[in-house]
Symmetry: C3
Subunit: 140 residues, 3 copies
């Protein structure tokens, strides 16, 4: 059994942003030399997500819109968490909804994804340094 | 350490459908001969889900209803993704909400589920061939 | 490769409650002696969640509020599942939204969490005995 750990750093220009990180994940799988196993990709912050979906900019727009309009409007006054001096309670709820991690199977040394699946970092409260952990576990 | 990979294929009659796949997952765990480990069950499409819940048809009806009325109405005009010629943006958002994968622990050679837990495939845009990957990792 | 399994029991006083279980998870990782691997923390019930977020009581209040007001109001008459004699369909939908499990990476023998990340049990239909499984997989 073998393991491999790597951290990705982000500092987005916009406060909310969706970034395709599939190539970085695939690169770490290659470096790990694992042939059969899992790769965990997990946001290390409670106001961000890691998720799998489609590389299509219209959809990214829809996701940001839906998080604001349907799931958790930013509206700081609505939330008790924001009485602590924060204004990002909505980002926490968005992270809970979309999730903060994915596990991708590794088969024959490659990410075993479907034809349209890509791995994304979803930043819901950015413009500061944040991190994702990639952890590969499996056998050579 | 041992691993085992298997793919399930689906082609649902209805566009939205919920299918209990617990027995197929258990069968793959048996075939893997893993005694202690994990089984990952993951939709390979961005408009479907894999989730754990209750084998109760009233609840399945409630889930489909709730996805349409509360989480992400189908309403194609609402979404920019649908300007690409698709009409399934809502299916993507439903997949993000419910999630596309689960990990079930394997203990003493069996799925270590609670008394009411069952594994489901949630099809949010069906009537075409789609796939789920089952990947077992652990020790004999 | 090594594995370690442990069950946590809960019986909450209130019907909905959020409980920080990070220390119990860390203790099981220590007992497992795994240095590099994963720990799966998974609710064994379909009306509960395990999730990662912030140890801040205002936010816990916001989460309970948001589940009731935005995601899935309790309102028993709304759901067909409740015609079976249950009244907890909303708890099932809350479990689907927030998720029922997390995987935390273990690096150098410790939970590899970000600075604010804590692991929580979310009880959405309590006041009875319920269980969480902790399963560690990795290498010494």
């Amino acid at each position: 059994m073998t393991s491999h750990t790597h951290y990705l750093w982000f500092e987005t220009k916009r406060r909310q942003e969706i970034i395709d990180i599939t190539d970085q994940v695939a690169e770490q799988v290659a470096q790990s030399r694992v042939r059969e196993g899992y790769v965990l990709v997990s946001a290390m912050h409670i106001s961000a997500s890691v998720f799998i979906n489609d590389h299509e900019s219209g959809l990214w727009h829809d996701i940001l819109n839906w998080l604001e309009e349907t799931i958790a409007p930013w509206d700081p006054e609505r939330y008790r968490h924001n009485e602590t001096g924060e204004d990002n309670a909505a980002a926490h709820l968005r992270s809970l909804t979309v999730g903060h991690e994915v596990i991708v199977p590794i088969t024959a040394g490659k990410l075993d994804l479907g034809p349209w699946q890509r791995v994304f970092y979803g930043e819901w409260d950015g413009q500061r340094r944040k991190r994702v952990v990639i952890k590969v576990l499996g056998e050579n």
